[in-house]
């Protein structure tokens, strides 16, 4: 019998950050943390809403079963311990004793079953709990999850904002959970902080929940999440000390500027589970990009290192595949397509695309959907001219316009940014699965790529908990994709957490700031 057991005792010793272990200061109780989030969340209930705007306040309001440390290790949270059966089809969760919701009612296995059902039915990430056939509740602190097949994504899907434990007696009242009035006000949560005030476009104020189930936590009395959309405004407020913490910062110039500031800690630790990867996606079915030789030639003609230096200003690193480099499944041994203009020209010549009198072989359009992607699109125009591809940069008026074009497959090449969301099953498979070619759905397989072996590898890697086997499957998967190149990976978004040096234990889990801040304290 294979058992994964973790005692609650180890929890007390496990600190969120390695840095805090080195720091001499002891965590201190009390204080108000003023931090920034970048957009107003639609509402605060992550059980029925994806996105980190909801996730950052949502993970304070609602506890999940597990939490992940910076080393991708699951740690006990609401689940005191858990056990996976030999056949990997049954997962038994033992809940911590005495945990209560913010209204004082106990958190029971009933609520866990209800939460899983709600997420399964309403959350956009369908693959998270798709194999769950039933959740049994033999007693108040035991939940048994039954699976139709082994489901390796389950552990990550039970952490952070992906499985918020919500009270059945509040959200199970028959109303549509997506439009429940208590998603935005009078939120009854299970996490370390409870909601005081949510003012759209202004702030979210959270207060310490005194009966939180983790002993002695949270350290902070209050968290004020100010909603600051403008990156420059956040930078200035962080520099002046008005803001103490901000996650998901990705503007290289702002990051480099704040790195020079003594009062700020700038860290790119974490975010591997968010896993945001930027790439150039190709239309693999229509036009010239349907020819793999053309896609490869473009990959050889694009200088990824130049983009990293000139546009990302060294704030991030290369991603050679569509899996985030911070993921344990990332395979960095694939063909990197380092710049080689001769090879690119050779590939195009061999494929029969002769240069015309003007030195051009054929035209292609490049799309981009948001302002920060424009420099990359503009870069492609002169760069691909060097191999005789005449690029027209097509700007879209707004994000929906771009999303409509790309999701309806009306593009040749587009810059895109897709999140891995922890396990590849949740955020990676959707990009390559031939089952997921869905017209009109953005971030489905908009490349319209289809390969039977790739489908098979994803199915196998998604149906076993054996990490070594999975690594092997995903390695082959990445090798095939690097060879057929439905998309040319560029780099992960340079997500950084900026914190004032006064902030102890800044969050740097694999989920970034979309993670309970119960161990954060003010020095």
């Amino acid at each position: 019998m294979k058992k994964h057991l973790l005692a609650a005792a180890t929890l007390a010793l496990t600190t969120v950050t390695a840095a805090s272990a080195l720091a001499a200061d002891e965590p201190k109780q009390g204080g108000t943390l003023v931090m920034a989030i970048q957009t107003t969340p639609r509402h605060l209930n992550p059980a029925v809403q994806s996105g980190t705007a909801t996730g950052q306040p949502g993970t304070q309001l609602f506890a999940s079963l597990l939490r992940y440390d910076e080393g991708w290790e699951p740690q006990p949270y609401l689940a005191e311990s858990w056990e996976i059966s030999e056949d990997e089809l049954t997962v038994t969760i033992n809940l911590v004793e005495g945990a209560t919701f913010h209204d004082g009612k106990p958190i029971t296995s009933e609520d866990v079953a209800f939460s899983i059902d709600t997420v399964k039915a309403n959350h956009p990430f369908k693959s998270m709990f798709a194999p769950v056939t039933a959740v049994e509740t033999p007693d108040a602190t035991t939940a048994i999850i039954k699976l139709s097949e082994p489901h390796p994504a389950l552990m990550l899907a039970m952490s952070s904002q992906l499985l918020s434990i919500i009270p059945k007696h509040v959200y199970g009242d028959g109303q549509d959970p997506k439009a429940h009035p208590q998603n935005s006000e009078n939120v009854v949560g299970s996490g370390p902080f409870k909601l005081t005030e949510f003012k759209r476009d202004q702030h979210i104020i959270l207060e310490r929940y005194d009966d939180y189930f983790m002993e002695g936590l949270p350290y902070l009395d209050k968290i004020v999440m100010r909603i600051v959309k403008d990156g420059a405004a956040r930078t200035i407020a962080l520099e002046s000390g008005e803001l103490m913490l901000s996650g998901f910062e990705q503007e290289p110039r702002d990051i480099n500027r704040m790195k020079k500031k003594d009062t700020l800690d700038v860290s790119n630790a974490g975010y591997a589970a968010i896993g945001p990867v930027n790439w150039l996606a190709f239309n693999t079915q229509q036009g010239k990009t349907a020819d793999p030789a053309v896609r490869k030639a473009i990959a050889y003609a694009v200088d990824r290192d130049f983009l990293l230096k000139a546009i990302m200003l060294g704030a991030t690193e290369a991603a050679l595949t569509g899996i985030h480099p911070g993921s344990p499944f990332y395979d960095g041994t694939v063909e990197p397509y380092d710049i080689d203009l001769d090879k690119a020209n050779q590939l195009l010549d061999d494929a029969g695309y002769a240069k015309g009198d003007d030195g051009m072989r054929f035209p292609l359009t490049v799309d981009f959907g948001w302002a920060s992607a424009k420099p990359v699109a503009e870069y492609l125009k002169p760069q691909l001219k060097k191999v005789g591809i005449d690029i027209t940069v097509r700007s879209s008026a707004d994000f929906p316009t771009w999303a409509k074009r790309v999701s309806n497959h009306e593009f040749d090449i587009t810059f895109d940014n897709v999140f891995n969301w922890g396990d590849p099953v949740i955020g990676v498979h959707r990009t390559y699965s031939s089952q997921n070619i869905k017209k009109g759905v953005i971030w489905s397989n908009t490349q319209q790529y289809s390969n039977a072996r790739v489908d098979e590898l994803m199915a196998m890697a998604g149906a076993t908990n054996d990490i070594e086997k999975r690594k092997k499957y995903y390695a082959e998967f990445q090798q095939i994709l690097a060879d057929e190149l439905p998309l040319y990976p560029l780099y992960p978004s340079p997500y950084h957490t900026i914190s004032n040096t006064q902030v102890g234990n800044p969050p740097n889990s694999v989920w970034g700031t979309s993670h309970p801040l119960d161990r954060v304290y003010l020095k």
């Binding site: 110039r253 500027r257 000139a310 546009i311 302002a371 920060s372 424009k374 420099p375 699109a377 503009e378 870069y379 125009k381 002169p382 760069q383 001219k385 027209t392 940069v393 097509r394 700007s395 879209s396 008026a397 707004d398």
Partner: protein, 299 residues
């Protein structure tokens, strides 16, 4: 013997004086009396030479990445440095200037066409026609122009054509009002009444009789519009609503804007070029106003 000659000379002088006061010559002299306007004209000529003749002496593709990004002006062999992709700023300024000026001119012509048509008919016919046309004009006048042009570009996509049309479509109202007020004044004058009594058609009266006499203030207005259209294009580009496949001064500003704190020159140079051009056009407009507006002239 000498007297008759002297008389002839006096007559000649009188005749010569009449020749000097030919309307165009008089206009020119009024214009050149305004030194600021002359300076503006010289400045504009220099800019036009730079933009249209410059590329023959500096034939570099402004899209080509020729050097490392953000090489500062004069430091590494690039007179105006390189932009964020390492493209030659000097070439971008030359080729971009052509586009900026072309957009300015084309947009001004579009708004001139719409404005003069609307204003002429409103002023000539009066009554219901005037009511409808002027309410229509006011409708466009109260719309925030930049916002309106952004909507147009957003709806129809950012191409050179839509940007030009958007600018033209939002900035014709002033022309329409000026044209209308001139028409209201001129249609009551005696020479119009005379032409009308000669059973001239409405069409003839509008375009052959009244419009030529209403032109001076319209020309001044149109001139200023070229300047504001260039500014408009820059504003749209700054907001990212420009055709990324065409180099213009606004496009240079728009694409280098994120790097303004690190390498301000890439934004400052095209900004300065726009400033100089618009200034030159405004000064010329001032001089034209002096030359063409008889009422102001007497002050």
């Amino acid at each position: 013997m000498s007297e008759p000659f002297n008389n002839t000379t006096a007559n000649d002088v009188a005749e010569a004086q009449i020749k000097v006061s030919h309307p165009l010559a008089e206009m020119a002299s009024m214009f050149f009396r305004n030194y600021a306007a002359v300076a503006g004209l010289i400045l504009l000529i220099v800019i036009i030479l730079f933009v249209f003749v410059g590329p023959y002496f500096h034939p570099v593709d402004p899209f080509e990445m020729v050097w490392a990004p953000f090489s500062r002006p004069m430091e590494e062999g690039f007179v105006l440095g390189t932009d964020y992709l390492g493209r030659d700023m000097l070439a971008a300024m030359m080729v971009g200037g052509q586009v900026s000026m072309a957009i300015g001119l084309a947009a001004a012509l579009i708004s001139l066409f719409i404005g003069v048509t609307v204003g002429a008919f409103a002023g000539y016919y009066g009554g219901v026609v005037e009511e409808i046309l002027m309410r229509f004009t006011e409708f466009f006048q109260v719309l925030p122009t930049l916002l309106f042009s952004m909507v147009i570009v957003a709806l129809f996509g950012a191409s050179l054509l839509t940007v030009t049309l958007a600018i033209g479509v939002v900035s014709w109202t002033a022309v329409a009002r000026v044209t209308r007020s001139e028409f209201l004044r001129i249609r009551e004058l005696e020479y119009v009444a005379a032409a009308r009594s000669g059973s001239a058609s409405d069409w003839y009266l509008i375009f052959k009789v009244i419009l030529p006499n209403a032109l001076p203030p319209i020309i001044v207005q149109a001139n200023l519009m070229v300047g504001s259209a260039i500014l408009f294009e820059a504003a749209l580009s700054f907001l990212g609503l420009s055709d990324p496949n065409v180099m213009s001064w606004g496009q240079v500003i728009g694409s280098n804007r994120p790097y303004i704190l690190d390498s301000g020159f890439t934004v400052a140079i095209p900004g300065f070029a726009i400033f100089l051009t618009v200034l030159a056009i405004s000064l010329i407009g001032d001089g034209l106003n002096d030359a063409l507006n008889p009422k102001l002239r007497q002050r």
